[in-house]
């Protein structure tokens, strides 16, 4: 089973210290991602002889509290991805109808496979320092271990 392990480090670069554990608490479980066009959009670009825009790299926060995945709208805008659906979303501040987008997420530097969906939710995430929120619609394919005492996160496929 391919496994990705992320050990949080303290300022001295050490793992499994009180400071490294604090870092996991502060930052949360994250994973490197690259946001790209959907498979269908890539095929359309290639058949038209157009250059496929390069993926937008960044960090995603793993959020088991979210039932769906969210992508930073600036990344979507940069890739030229427009809305292709809507979704009713309940939040603590009330219900809303949000646009959804077709896109793909890859996990560079990890053995995890790409995922492609037609219903990623778009929202401004950049201020939080992340480009995506990985919710349960993607996590249903993975095993995630949050090691608080060890200051690490493991994701297996």
């Amino acid at each position: 089973m391919p496994v990705y392990n992320l050990f949080y480090r303290d300022d001295a670069g050490q793992v499994n210290t009180a400071e490294s554990r604090d870092r996991l608490t502060q930052v949360g479980p994250t994973i490197p991602v690259a946001i790209g066009l959907s498979t269908a959009a890539v095929a359309m670009f290639q058949s038209a002889g157009l250059t496929v825009p390069p993926p937008v790299a960044g960090v995603a926060l793993i959020d088991t509290g979210a039932s769906v995945c969210v992508i930073d709208e600036a990344a979507l805008r940069g890739l030229g991805i427009m809305p292709s659906g809507t979704m009713s979303i309940y939040t603590p501040s009330g219900p809303s109808i949000q646009s959804t987008y077709a896109a793909s997420i890859s996990f560079p530097g990890t053995p995890l496979p790409n995922v492609s969906f037609t219903d990623f939710v778009g929202a401004p995430l950049h201020a939080q320092g992340i480009v995506a929120l990985i919710g349960r619609s993607v996590l249903r394919q993975f095993v995630v271990i949050y090691n608080g005492p060890g200051g690490s996160v493991s994701v297996a496929y």
Binding site: S38, A40, A41, A43, M44, D63, G65, A66, S67, V68, V70, E73, A74, L76, R77, G80, I81, M82, P83, S84, G85, T86, M87, S88, I89, Y90, T91, P92, S93, G94, P95, S96, I97, Q98, S99, Y101, A102, T118, D119, V121, G122, A123, P124, L125, A127, Q128, L133, G135
Partner: protein, 87 residues
């Protein structure tokens, strides 16, 4: 319910015709651009592929024909102002 999408015209068109879609092809997917409906399709991916090949990188609506809309939960949104990438 607040609405944060540029697809409100397509969504309104879907709601206008939802009863007839439910009768004709419940559970399948339709593709709507302005006031034009295409489909039905067996999956969202099939509808999206037709949409991207027909309309290019523009906004269009892919919608499953269901009586009750599924609801997603994103508690993180309580801390993040949501908006629409195309606004």
């Amino acid at each position: 319910m607040s609405e944060r999408t540029v697809l409100m015209p397509e969504l309104a068109y879907f709601e206008q015709h939802k009863a007839e879609y439910l009768e004709a092809f419940p559970g399948l997917f339709v593709l709507i651009k302005d006031e034009q409906m295409m489909g039905p399709f067996p999956s969202a991916e099939a509808a999206y592929t037709t949409g991207i090949n027909t309309f290019g990188m523009t906004a269009f609506l892919v919608k499953q024909v269901l009586e009750h809309e599924p609801v997603a939960y994103v508690p993180f949104f309580s801390l993040t102002r949501t908006s629409d990438a195309s606004l």
